[in-house]
Symmetry: none
């Protein structure tokens, strides 16, 4: 049975600079060989002109309308931190911060650098608060992510419809969270949020790490600021929605998180950690191997986005070329299967931000129409047989080729 | 910083006649030069096959779903008459008419021709009625537009959910307006409408102009018929919705009205009054000048539509050629900016009405993909790199190129 290998170059799309783009410039004989045999097109990850985040774009590519399923940053931040969320969980983005005696914010990032030991101490403190919070009938989890940042998850009869405690500026006092609707859940959530904010301040006074920080002249970690509450929606797994058993290999936690949220089993590979220096040998080898037990294997390449944010054209070309070289040694094993190559959004090297242009799209398969396009790039794929489609169109298309989707009507 | 010049040929799209269209036939080296460097496509102003009005098409092109924002013709008719509307205002289209003693309509247009002096006399009468209407807590404005036509605006706690007073045929009595829902506003509005309809008939008896009309054997203006009540919706200005500071230069009041309604600042130019004989020198010069203070300048060319309604192929070609000649003398100043050329709908010269085919679309810009299309027309643009898009897709696309839109997600 054929399977699908879906290669995604994060931020791979670009705008022509001097008539060239990274995809156009890169020497990539394996991808271009598949291109010459398959159908090309251009794809709006969400809809024309909309600038996607990696989270909303991947939701859309996995076949889930982001306007329905993207429910606030907190939930996806938690997914990105490898926190497992259940439907109904409410997650906040958090900052560890420094406040004065009166609760006025002095530093929204507590000096920004938080050592691993300090992060662990804060996690322990939050664990203790979580135990105490059981009296509200609510479970509380906290995970430190990068520097002063973290995620806080509430589980139980809670709501994301509550205000931030983060005043979003220094010189202002910590805010009281207020319910944003009349539900009992919102009232309870605001109560718990305000209680744990206070409790954190009390317990932080005893924190050993703050004594050390004081000796070193660093600002104490004596407050936690919550913002961007979002809830985890109920998502029908991709296996039920599209009939496809899917795996993803990704070095980036956020991508793994989104994949897991839609029921895609996630894998990692040595060498694939989500930087421009990733080495793809193991990732491609595993992806091809997984194709025997999954109908769809999604392989995420982050380096094209990282180099774009750094405005590094040569680096972007190099990521594509190194990936293609690895791919070429497995090309013979792919010819009886489907291969999709695309991007989740453009990150033009001259813009250094996600932009809203369509990205090139390749669908290779033994029974896919062969069009005239022989080179995968922004400058060529628009000529192809697929025309202009949207991210949300891809999964139904693949499910149809795989023969896994239900007929609509008789 | 780059800006956008958006050139819109009203009704410019056409169907091939003997294999040709006006865009295809016109000698237009400036537009075709930009075409050869940019991306082309075809655009459905609303959606495939839908025949747009100029008002709904422009709403869509400005990035506002007409199915949500087009709230009855009355409101847009008022905008077209240069009447400033506030959100919540209710506007009706009106006819000045002739009724008999018993209120039965004899002529729905009071002979159609209304002299400027007569129009002014009616406006004065309506002003007096408006003063009296203050007892209802409602403000009333009336403006005469063309011939027997005008607009009536109610402001206050009013609703558009009331029936017409216009029976839409002769030989039938003036209708009593009835509320179409249970709201207090609809009841009040119907009451005011019926009161002012009666009051108009009473006061019309004393009108000096009717004595003169009687002497000339012309039917008296002794009734006002209301129809097509619509309310002015609350519209998020384009600057907030798309982050774009925009100006429009248009000779047609309705286009200026729609532009103003979405927060586009409107300008006029000598020579640009909205006919087939418009001269474009000042309009193009001003448009280019405005590009230094606005991110988007929209320039509306009406002549292509007027000539189409007259089935005047040569005239349509001439409008395009004369515009292009003016544009060519400013071409050097545009090359570092974006230029959009399109149409708000097709008005085929053999049909003489708005039709529902897609129209050609050009997006030029220094960092826009160059496709193979070198001539702007219905017969060529479908080959281009933009594929087939909708009117509502243009503003997000421009906002992405201008870098003014918010990212959706992280």
């Amino acid at each position: 049975m054929p399977s699908v290998l879906w290669i995604l170059f994060d931020g791979g799309g670009d705008r022509p600079v001097g008539g060239k783009t990274a995809f156009h410039t890169a020497f990539k004989p394996a991808i271009d060989y598949l291109t010459s045999l398959g159908s090309c097109g251009i794809m709006d990850p969400i809809s024309p002109g909309v600038r996607p985040g990696s989270d909303t774009a991947h939701l859309s590519l996995f076949g889930y309308d982001p306007y329905r399923y993207y429910t606030g940053r907190g939930a996806f931040e938690a997914l990105g931190a490898d926190v497992e969320l259940k439907p109904g969980d409410v997650a906040f983005r958090t900052n560890l911060a420094t406040v004065d005696e009166g609760g006025v914010v002095i530093d929204r990032r507590a000096g920004r650098y938080i050592s691993p030991d300090e992060a662990r101490a804060v996690e322990e403190l939050m664990y203790r608060i979580g135990r105490e919070a059981e009296k509200f009938g609510v479970e509380v989890f906290y995970r430190s992510t990068v520097e002063h940042r973290g995620v806080l998850v509430l589980r139980g009869a809670v709501s994301h419809r509550v205000g931030d405690t983060d005043p979003h500026k220094v010189g202002a006092p910590l805010l009281k969270s207020t319910p944003l609707d009349d539900s009992r859940e919102a009232a309870k959530t605001a109560e718990v949020v305000n209680w744990l904010t206070e409790r954190f301040r009390e317990l932080a006074r005893e924190l050993e790490i703050n004594k050390a920080r004081q000796r070193e002249g660093r600002p104490p970690i004596n407050a936690i600021l919550l913002r961007g509450g979002g809830y985890m929606p109920k998502i029908e797994p991709i296996r039920e929605k599209y009939g496809v058993k899917a795996a993803a290999i990704a070095g980036v936690a956020l991508i793994r998180g989104v994949a897991r949220a839609v029921g895609i089993e996630t894998h990692t590979a040595p060498g694939l950690v989500g930087t421009k220096d990733d080495v793809f040998d193991e990732a491609v080898r595993r992806a091809v191997e997984l194709m025997s037990s999954y109908q769809l294997v999604f392989l995420h390449v982050k380096g094209t986005d990282s180099t774009s944010h750094d405005s590094d054209f040569a680096g972007k070309v190099s990521v594509i070329e190194r990936f293609d070289k690895t791919l070429s040694s497995h090309l013979d094993k792919l010819l009886d299967h489907y291969v999709v190559v695309t991007s989740d959004h453009a990150t033009p090297v001259l813009v250094r931000e996600h932009t809203g242009e369509p990205v090139p799209l390749l669908l290779y398969g033994p029974d896919v129409v062969q069009d005239d396009v022989a080179k995968f790039s922004e400058l060529t794929c628009w000529r192809g047989a697929l025309g202009r489609v949207r991210g949300i169109d891809i999964m139904p298309t693949l499910a149809s080729y795989l023969g896994t989707s239900e007929k609509f009507g008789e």
